[in-house]
Symmetry: D2
Subunit: 312 residues, 4 copies
Amino acid sequence: MNLTDAQRAEIAEARAASFPTRRASVPALEAILFEPVAVLDHGFVRVIDYMGDDAAVVQAARVSYGRGTRRVSEDAGLIRYLMRHRHTTPFEMCEIKYHVKLPIFVARQWIRHRTANVNEYSARYSILDREFYIPAPGHLAAQSETNRQGRGELLEGNEAAEVLAVLARDAAQCHDDYAAMLNESGDPSRRGLARELARMNLTLNTYTQWYWKTDLHNLLHFLSLRADPHAQYEIRAYAEAMLTSLEAWVPLTAAAFREYRLGAATFSASMLAVLRRMLAGEAVMQPESGLSKREWGEMMAVLNPASDESAP
Amino acid sequence: MNLTDAQRAEIAEARAASFPTRRASVPALEAILFEPVAVLDHGFVRVIDYMGDDAAVVQAARVSYGRGTRRVSEDAGLIRYLMRHRHTTPFEMCEIKYHVKLPIFVARQWIRHRTANVNEYSARYSILDREFYIPAPGHLAAQSETNRQGRGELLEGNEAAEVLAVLARDAAQCHDDYAAMLNESGDPSRRGLARELARMNLTLNTYTQWYWKTDLHNLLHFLSLRADPHAQYEIRAYAEAMLTSLEAWVPLTAAAFREYRLGAATFSASMLAVLRRMLAGEAVMQPESGLSKREWGEMMAVLNPASDESAP
Amino acid sequence: MNLTDAQRAEIAEARAASFPTRRASVPALEAILFEPVAVLDHGFVRVIDYMGDDAAVVQAARVSYGRGTRRVSEDAGLIRYLMRHRHTTPFEMCEIKYHVKLPIFVARQWIRHRTANVNEYSARYSILDREFYIPAPGHLAAQSETNRQGRGELLEGNEAAEVLAVLARDAAQCHDDYAAMLNESGDPSRRGLARELARMNLTLNTYTQWYWKTDLHNLLHFLSLRADPHAQYEIRAYAEAMLTSLEAWVPLTAAAFREYRLGAATFSASMLAVLRRMLAGEAVMQPESGLSKREWGEMMAVLNPASDESAP
Amino acid sequence: MNLTDAQRAEIAEARAASFPTRRASVPALEAILFEPVAVLDHGFVRVIDYMGDDAAVVQAARVSYGRGTRRVSEDAGLIRYLMRHRHTTPFEMCEIKYHVKLPIFVARQWIRHRTANVNEYSARYSILDREFYIPAPGHLAAQSETNRQGRGELLEGNEAAEVLAVLARDAAQCHDDYAAMLNESGDPSRRGLARELARMNLTLNTYTQWYWKTDLHNLLHFLSLRADPHAQYEIRAYAEAMLTSLEAWVPLTAAAFREYRLGAATFSASMLAVLRRMLAGEAVMQPESGLSKREWGEMMAVLNPASDESAP
């Protein structure tokens, strides 16, 4: 994470301010407000504003005149109830705004979450920094042989070294040519290509940045998909950093979210039938379970988290 | 506006609190936070939370690291530019939450604005108050003879008196029967009809209430449609109360909104052709203008706001 | 369901037409197109247009150049995969449009599904029919004693008779007064109240109607909430009629939906821990399960669907 | 536009099919259904499905039982009325689905329109074709000197030649390295980098493709922004191709759209004040107009479309 001195000063100045407010406020989130948390090699995520707290969820569920909170234990119970029964609208009453620096290919996955507000740094107006994502060796994975959209084992030795060199070289070459086409050096014999065109020469691991604002319900939906082990590592790294801010902001909601979403599992009608037979003492095997091998494996992985997925 | 003592106490308690925050804060809006503003005979609207300010719009447009504001005049200029060119996403970066008490038939118009978050008081759980909207005599209008969805002149004399009496009688009768079906009196020989069914006996002028949260862009869209003279009076009364909170919250945005939306007018391609002929000195008349009588009237009303709409 | 002769003729005329199209078409849905299916006492739901079929889901998932279908078994497998892993965007590629006649209090629940397009019959322009929902005796339930938003046992005897009489009388009285205030009889000494005002005198069981259009993903979401036993009976009646059109339209998707949504169950992190102990042969009881009594009951109801909910 | 023989065969097969339907159908759109229209150097746009027609807009506005159309002239009048008064919901009742091949940097602008459904070709699953957008010399513009986000004059001579060579070389180099990292040649000593990682090496002018579906209202909104002269040329090229399909599909709506949107202009409150003075015969000049030079120029450009923007 490379911040310029000017950027650091701007952040420090924003953090130094303090205003009195009548609004719901969360000291644990105020403590980290504006602070960038490093993600990947040059990225970050930082909370830059928020609205509401756990009590605001309760308040909305009750449409009350005053602050929602009576006792924390009551609030926790109501929040668990709302989460369990998918009463989602009270969670829409809280809002959070992030400033994120991220590679363009991650931004392309992220933007598919449509129920959010976004302002991205515009490469039609401005010139993108010379910063690219290059995976750490521990994330440089081969194509999975069993999952068409996943990663397999790590690349090693020469192949890994070559890949890292190529990624770095191509990104740098493209950005250098981008700057040259823009005539950044100010050569008076050149006009400089329009920024809105020159940007097409950048590679997808170039960093961009945006303001991203969403409500608590949609944030939880985002996190349930992107903090999931099936999500691509690079976006998951952001989701995990955001989970930390969730805990600081709305601890009761975060706990209910772990209980009823992140740590929960859904069983299909056929899986439930298998489960009932098992609980009745029957030794069910995959071939006569009515489940495909893949679904059987998924079910066993949930029931025996430590075991091998392929075991019955 | 009838608040119980308990409700007044809850509001007073919320207003008495003060927390330190690093967030963008607006003293003029803090001053009226939580205070209900009376609308219609028993309704109100009050701001119960907000996020962002004029500077947050600027900040988002620039995707900056610190607070957006440099000089107020620069911010004003940028906000005017964004409003004029319909760059709407920076306005989505501010959010406001209202608590509204309103008749059900108004709620049915209002809810058609889908880009908002809503928690309505549930008549499946709770019992609605015995409060109905009865128009003031100055709003008791006859059906318009020229506009199938509008109002004409005021009702007068016996007809007005009868209408007011009928509205009050039917609403009261229906609510009394609602309470009786619920067995509110606790008659041990009755079970009481389920609340989710009994509510169907209420009339559409019964008051309900909700929390309604939206972003600044969508609030402006709501106000441009509902603070408009063509909107039904009853919802316009709410929009006008909300315009006041807009001025307190984001004065630069509110000024740009008046200049480029509320006070602006759009001319169709044919109207522009007429306008060009007029500016070239031609005395254009409706029959050879290419405009229908109705469009001609609308155009003249914009160009000569004080004159009679039907005049050429 | 009371249709006028003119309405029946319009429907018959629409059904008599036939056009050649290159678009994906579904004979089973064409067979019932435009036909109203009766719901409640005066309501209906009918499909009036659609776009796409099961193959269109497959086609979108593959972003293919031609029709998606290769073999039905392959399509079924991919659709099951998409449903299981909540890859929802391919289901958004199909669209359906309904014409629905429904009581206003049901419309108010329904409209909370925001990701849909709606055109409702306007009582600002037009006059609503004199039709009200009066529950059949088999649905006239008392307030539940255990669930604040549910129904308990049926009302009986005098209480039931009185409730039905009151509902019918108040709705009729309010509609008669509505018609009188509008001066439907054309009394020349009266002006007639504006329609946009007079409608406030109607009760919430008055029927309205609308066109409602949504994509297949959002339709499934609607059905998963509204065809659920916890939904209020009146809206569930509509959802069940719509399930039938779903089966006709996209049979592979409908089957996957029953397997992975309607017939599925989600277990929280704590429930999974209990389940693992049970499968290991432990006789877990509620008090030491870590689950509340209510959650324990819900879990047992899923595992032993025929048994009493309160049993361990 | 390079289609493989297999792709051409798939398209031909889809076009050869014909099904009978009771649905609203549009022969002029059926005629071009599935046919790709070339855009830019390797892109295309083609309509692959639709729902509704002009009459469906009318039908929705009336919530009618049969087909909307009575007389074409009546329908045209109602559609013009709806467009003029921004009654947008009836236009949401029609839906269209496109298959688009487009450069990634264009896709990034396009995706900001959130009210649409999208399935993009996944570079996590599949390998992107070796096709890049290289501007035609007539679109190779310098950065505008007056507009920070626009284009100025064309690049010429050596500078143009160099830019074209660099764009082509870098894109090809990056794609070659992408293919090598994936181990497309099948070198047994290499594992091949995961596709979800290798894609980050591609440049932003690489072509991707997607299915994009939206309703008529949101299509018009998209076209009003993207078929506008201020839009970047590359996305405008797609919007213009889509305008052609709009004319084939809903000719009455398209005509109203040209009259009240594309060919219309909005005047701010201050511009209206200037206009009234001008129409009263006053010779208003910019300095005492109350308008900034830029706004004055914009207004004059609308009133005198042939003249130079900077005059008078």
